[in-house]
Amino acid sequence: MKSGKLYKRMNLTIFTLVMVFLYIPIIILIIFSFNDSKIVAGWQGFTVKYYLQLFENQQIKQAFQNTMLIAILSTLFSTILGVLAALGLENKRFTGRKVMNALIYVPLIMPDILMGVSLALMFNFLRVGTGMATVLIAHITFCVSYTTIVVQSRLQGFDYSLVEAAMDLGAKPWLIFWKVKFPLMIPGIIAGALLAFTLSIDDFIITFFTSGRGFDTLPIYVEGAIRRGTITTINALSTLMIGFTLFLVAITKRVRNLLLR
């Protein structure tokens, strides 16, 4: 086989560079979270004091709780909405298909800032005070598209022979759904929920527009701290957050493997 050697070498070089590009900032951030220095430059010795300071900081604690609460609730609601919509869209001759597809796909590419501005203005128009409820509404809104699409893509690769077998055996539609189809959908639902959860934890812009004063999530707190220049604890906080997401990904992989077995 004559596959180009030159191209292979070039691809490998670019691939390595991209990997370095992707990982260097994160690795430096982690290393410097243990640096005993008020400014980021230069290695002054190993310390964990910034991690200890982190646990004493009430604002961070509150922001962490807010982030988790919003993430859990928006994951729950957006997953339910997404599963229902995906089941509805399974029907190829559904007359509302076009409208639904537009409503699901357009938010995906809309710049965050437009969603943030439009929601903020609507809450103002309706005289709804911004806070936890408005943030939750916003998070559910941008998560629904993702959960729907993930569940939908799993439904497309669905093995219907089991459902048909159950039908041939005369099982009732509801029984078929809960006993046969739903269990098969679970990996897709978990994948969608995990995506919604991380997107919710990750969001800055839309939260920034819909939270108002007094309801900080972690990204909002971190951005404020960067602006104020209190950088050292942020290194430690960031490292913990990176660890947390990796842990989450590993856990879900485990769970999915267990379920798929």
């Binding site: 691809n11 670019i14 900032p25 430059a41 559904f94 439009s118 903020a120 960067i226 990176i242």
Partner: protein, 304 residues
């Protein structure tokens, strides 16, 4: 006669069945449909209303006027739009140039490596957005790691000021949006029939020719999808220019945010600017969609 009667009855049954299924689909879709209509579509109507009102230092005065549009037409906001457009274009091109070889390499590796490499690409994407931006600030700052390394290696004598320049913004934009380019490219290249490439080379095409005549055209859909996924969100960039860029030349995302958040506020102008952005995006998407449709039609014609 009886036979056709039965057929008729069967088709009525079928029709009823499909009507029932349709109703079921409506019911299942209804919660998302209602939710997205209220919290995604209707807010844009409010934006339209607010763009036609009189600004106030804090909120708006409910008095109809076209002053926001007049202010926009005066050309004050041309530069922020231009900067955002240039940034989105640069980001898309760089993501494509860096992402294509990566996607290609992953798509052509063995099954075992494929998953591992994909996870490697996605891990940074799982880490927090703000933290990723922040880590670049640490890396690029004048007393930061990169400058210390450059000075230690005697490559420069004074720290290079990258932070607070357009370059810093572009670097971080590419960093954040690269996975959005790599994943669609990967799935397009993975579907590609590599025997075609080998055939082209067997017929005497060199690597470059085979790439430009076979691989690239066949992965066009991935390039298309990736570019849209990067370009459009990049147009509205706010926090990356805010944390990395030069604050003397604002991007449109920053201008809109300032007019919403900073006192004196100007919500009508912010609304009108958002609508201009929305129209630009709609034009891009509709053009892309019609090009895609045309291609699909041409494809089916070719098959015939």
């Amino acid at each position: 006669m009886i036979h056709s009667h039965h057929k008729h009855k069967a088709s009525i049954l079928e029709l009823k069945q499909s009507q029932k299924r349709n109703l079921q689909s409506w019911l299942l879709s209804a919660p998302s449909l209602i939710w997205l209509t209220i919290f995604f579509s209707i807010p844009y109507l409010i934006v339209i209303i607010y763009s036609l009102l009189l600004p106030d230092i804090y909120e708006v005065k409910f008095q109809f006027t076209l002053s926001a549009y007049r202010e926009i037409l005066s050309g004050t906001y041309f530069k922020p739009f231009f900067l955002a457009f240039r940034l989105a274009l640069m980001t898309t091109l760089l993501c494509l140039l860096l992402g294509y070889p990566v996607a290609y390499l992953i798509a052509r590796s063995s099954e075992k490596w494929k998953n591992f490499l994909l996870v490697l690409i996605i891990i940074p994407f799982w880490t927090n957005f703000i933290i990723r931006i922040f880590s670049w600030r640490i890396f690029l700052s004048s007393g930061g790691v990169m400058n210390e390394a450059l000075i230690a290696l005697n490559l420069v004598s004074n720290p290079v000021e990258i932070i607070r320049t357009d370059w810093a913004v572009i670097i971080v934009m590419v960093y954040v949006y690269l996975p959005y380019m790599i994943l669609p490219l990967y799935s397009a290249i993975e579907k590609l029939d590599f025997t075609l490439l080998n055939a082209a080379m067997d017929l005497g095409a060199n690597e470059r020719k085979a790439f430009f005549k076979v691989t690239l055209p066949l992965s066009r859909e991935g390039i298309f999808a990736g570019s849209i996924l990067v370009f459009i969100p990049a147009l509205g960039a706010y926090i990356i220019p805010q944390l990395m860029g030069n604050q003397n030349a604002l991007y449109i995302g920053q201008v809109i945010t300032y007019k919403i958040k900073n006192i004196p506020r100007n919500w009508p102008v912010a609304s009108a600017l958002s609508l201009v952005m929305l129209v630009i995006i709609a034009v891009i998407l509709l053009t892309a969609y019609s090009l895609y449709q045309k291609r699909q039609i041409r494809k089916t014609d070719e098959i015939r």
